[in-house]
């Protein structure tokens, strides 16, 4: 699964440790999600979406999907 976590985090100038603290997980978990080695659970994904003020599908997408492309009607 692809994600925009690193981009969203960089936009807010947060460190991995700061994001981890806000989400209540370890920094290693944030790193593993960013490098796409670990897919978070649904509750954690919802937590991330709430924290960034966006929808889950704006953060995560399937591997063959382009996150930057606008949604099809």
């Amino acid at each position: 699964m692809k994600n925009r976590l690193r981009v969203l985090r960089a936009e807010r100038n947060w460190s991995q440790a700061e994001l981890a603290e806000a989400l209540g997980v370890s920094r290693q978990t944030i790193n593993a999600i960013e490098v796409e080695k670990y897919d978070p659970s649904l509750p954690l994904a919802f937590k991330m979406a709430r924290l960034f003020g966006t929808r889950i599908e704006d953060i995560f997408s399937e591997a063959d999907e382009d996150l930057g492309a606008p949604a099809r009607a």
């Binding site: 440790a17 997980v25 290693q28 978990t29 593993a32 080695k37 670990y38 954690l44």
Partner: protein, 248 residues
């Protein structure tokens, strides 16, 4: 202080800011170096056993291999004890902590719980594998109570650590445990099936326990490295390494 922390070769860079006073910070690099060396030794347990077998049993007889494995056992159990104690030493920071390190409380509690459980496991293994005790692994009346008590404390520490773990840490632990069970069951089945044909010796329970511990830590280490894409490092996990302070 900042300049010192920037210098990658300086072993004192792991000492957090505000920790320049008192004797504890002076011991921190020692704890860290010991923890790093010993955890690598523990995770490389099977490799260590093979090396011992190669070094000390040129004749490749069962008795020579058994002696080599026995040597590996002691090195392994000693490494487990040292690694656990060093990590516990790193997690205790007497006195007032700088505010910026409060956030690592969860990581420290997890590490302390796991390390404590490892130390207790090592002590129990040490007693069970000790050749001075006749019929090792049999419930000796004099040792049954203290060993049971130690095991209970170890289980409580492990459960406390698991309770504080986040979802990825729990998934790594459960996958490693499941894979260890699969590997050991397969080895046991193959050993039992091949025993009559190749005239293999009976499985020694204490040896089986030692192998199970070795396999579990080796798998756990591989999982951590593969899933986290980082070398497992006590300093990194405990938030002592300044390299990860701000990764943008």
């Amino acid at each position: 202080m900042n300049d010192r922390r920037q210098n990658f070769r300086d072993p004192w860079r792991f000492v957090p800011k505000g920790w320049s006073a008192g004797p504890w910070p002076r011991l921190s690099p020692v704890f860290l170096a010991t923890a790093r060396s010993c955890t690598n030794l523990v995770s490389g347990g099977p490799l260590l056993t093979v090396l011992c077998v190669l070094l000390f049993s040129w004749s490749w007889t069962w008795s020579a291999i058994h002696e080599a494995v026995l040597l590996a056992k002691w090195v392994y159990v000693l490494a487990m004890t040292l690694a656990g104690l060093s990590i516990i030493g790193m997690t205790f920071r007497p006195g007032r902590e700088p505010e910026r390190h409060q956030k690592f409380h969860r990581e420290r509690s997890v590490a302390r719980g796991m390390a404590g459980a490892v130390v207790i496991m090592a002590i129990v293994l040490w007693v069970l594998l000790s050749p001075s005790i006749p019929g090792a692994f049999q419930p000796l009346p004099s040792l049954a109570l203290p060993l049971s008590g130690l095991c209970a404390i170890g289980v409580i520490m492990l459960l406390q650590a698991v309770r504080l773990m986040d979802e990825m840490e729990r998934s790594i632990l459960s996958e490693a445990a499941a894979l260890t069970a699969v590997v050991l069951t397969s080895v046991f089945m193959v050993w039992t099936l091949c025993k009559p044909q190749f005239n293999l010796p009976d499985i020694d329970p204490s040896w089986a326990l030692f192998t199970a511990t070795q396999v579990f830590f080796a798998i756990l280490w591989v999982f951590v490295v593969l899933l986290r894409t980082e070398r497992w490092d006590p300093a990194d996990y405990l938030g002592w390494d300044a390299r990860h302070e701000r990764q943008l």
